[in-house]
Symmetry: C2
């Protein structure tokens, strides 16, 4: 079993802070593995964080997230910025790994030492995203990235978690993927700081854009008075990518230092709570009696008790 | 504030067990409201549960879930069975309510006293689905439903949660929604007990079906030796719906009493754990000091501490 001693944390952290790609990759692996050295790593990274602008990028499968990420990386690199990409795949909690596809498509930037690209599978329970992704973001942040793109496939919960983890959330939509009702069902209006209609060269793009603008116009503005812009783009050709980058910049300006701080505080609160609950969950697993939870679950299935009473007993046994 | 005394639990539970639609609706409202009377309700329902076959139905937005649910309800009603429908909308944790669309589309069965239809919004944190949906399923189960359809929009986490809550999980796919890689990215092969290609009258349906069958053939069989069938259907016309119903029946047979019990035990374990963690979360919120979690989060944002150390302090304060 891995122990904290297997890792020379001080030199690893110092190499990562200098932007050494291998050190960055190693630290993110520690996050993925929930390695015992993580506590020490995060303590060492803490003072170096808070600089990167975290941009969440989400949307349904097939909408062109990887291509858009690629185009955004190129745009930020053209400005001379250091870019991190964290592609989280919350859809594969079982497979334990992201598919090769992402890496292949991102290979155009793979040799650039100012670009850090990492695919991560989020692990089941308690929102892998709320636990692991923020810590991986900390690593990329401390490695001096100006922008970190957090890409995740998403409808529903994972989208919401991206919005919680990001400073600015971009939701990608493709034409014909649904009229207004579908967009609202997918919850995208509520989490999007910027909406981007990709594949805008398609015939039905104008209609989708119009629908979204209409829905945005009916929605209330947020605390900062920001109204979600709807950008049209063709990620494959690069058309409209500058507009997307500008919209993201404008959102950061609109947030202001206080708005940004408020978002990051919410993110940190979620992170701390997830770690605390994970520690409590570990206590549940360590209860005396083999598989205490399983035994209680069997009683519930047999109708001998109900889930509330079983939960009460579990909590009482925690002391 | 609502108290347990506001509700006459014994008569409500007894009416629900007799299949009274208003009592069933009221009990599910208690679940949605996390009403203090819930403990007593669940204790009273416990001995009456375990009869219904819970069929999860999931897929990306636009794939035809509501239409398919409608067609399945008609098929089960034609066999004289009592059917419950729980449409969970995990995509709208902010809006706090399911959209009208579902209810309208389901209205064909709304007047049938042997059909219970309910839309539920899943609430944010800790998987609203893992908490509320299983309790709503208990209500429908105790109300004498032979089959309960659990419909949810889903890619990613919500899909996985449906799979955890259901005895049999049906994943709907539409032609052209993606080739094999997209399907795998969405994690559908791992959670599907039955795959249904809807809109099978479309030109590209044959290709999608072939791709899925190819991927299923490459995957390993599960513990019961079950190989996920790929059914073709057109939910709007009813074509292929019988095949889907048969595939679901066959899966239950393949599960056997032990396989079914194992799934339900997993579901109950998740439910008990979620309730226990919710109780612990409530303890965190009740910690002395205003907004203890927020204060710790602010320290994390400022780089004065890291999330692990903050979580340790939170847990220590729980005593």
């Amino acid at each position: 079993m891995a122990t904290a001693r297997d890792v020379d944390v001080p030199s690893l952290v110092s190499a990562a802070r200098e932007g050494n790609p291998r050190a960055v990759a190693r630290l993110i692996s520690l996050v993925e593995d929930a390695h015992p050295a993580l506590r020490e790593v995060m303590a060492a990274l803490a003072p170096a964080t808070g600089r990167a602008h975290v941009v969440g990028l989400t949307g349904a499968p097939g909408v062109g997230k990887s291509t858009t990420t690629n185009a955004l990386v190129a745009a930020y690199r053209a400005r001379g910025q250091r870019v991190g990409v964290l592609a989280v795949d919350p859809s594969s909690p079982f497979s334990g790994g992201a598919l090769l596809g992402d890496r292949i498509r991102m290979s155009e930037h793979a040799a650039d030492p100012e670009v850090f690209i990492r695919s991560m599978a989020s692990r089941g329970h308690l929102g892998g995203l709320s636990w692991a992704a923020p810590q991986a973001l900390r690593v990329l942040d401390a490695a001096g990235c100006d922008v970190v793109l957090l890409e995740t496939v998403g409808v529903g919960q994972s989208e919401v978690e991206v919005a919680r983890a990001a400073d600015t959330t971009v939701v990608l939509v493709a034409p014909g993927m649904g009229d207004g009702i579908q967009a609202a069902k997918a919850g995208i209006l509520e989490v999007a700081d910027v909406l981007a209609v990709n594949k805008a060269d398609r015939a039905d793009a104008a209609r989708t854009t119009r629908d979204l603008r209409h829905m945005v116009a009916m929605a209330e503005r947020d605390e900062q008075g920001w109204r979600t812009p709807v950008v049209r783009m063709v990620a494959t050709s690069g058309e409209g990518v500058t507009d997307l980058v500008e919209a993201v910049d404008e959102h950061r300006v609109a947030l202001g230092p206080e708005g940004l701080r408020a978002r990051r505080r919410r993110r940190a609160a979620g992170e701390v709570e997830a770690l605390a609950l994970e520690a409590l969950r570990a206590r549940v697993a360590a209860l005396p009696g083999e598989h205490r939870l399983d035994a209680l679950a069997a009683e519930v299935v047999d109708g001998r008790t109900d889930p509330w009473a079983a939960a009460d007993r579990l909590v009482a046994e925690l002391g």
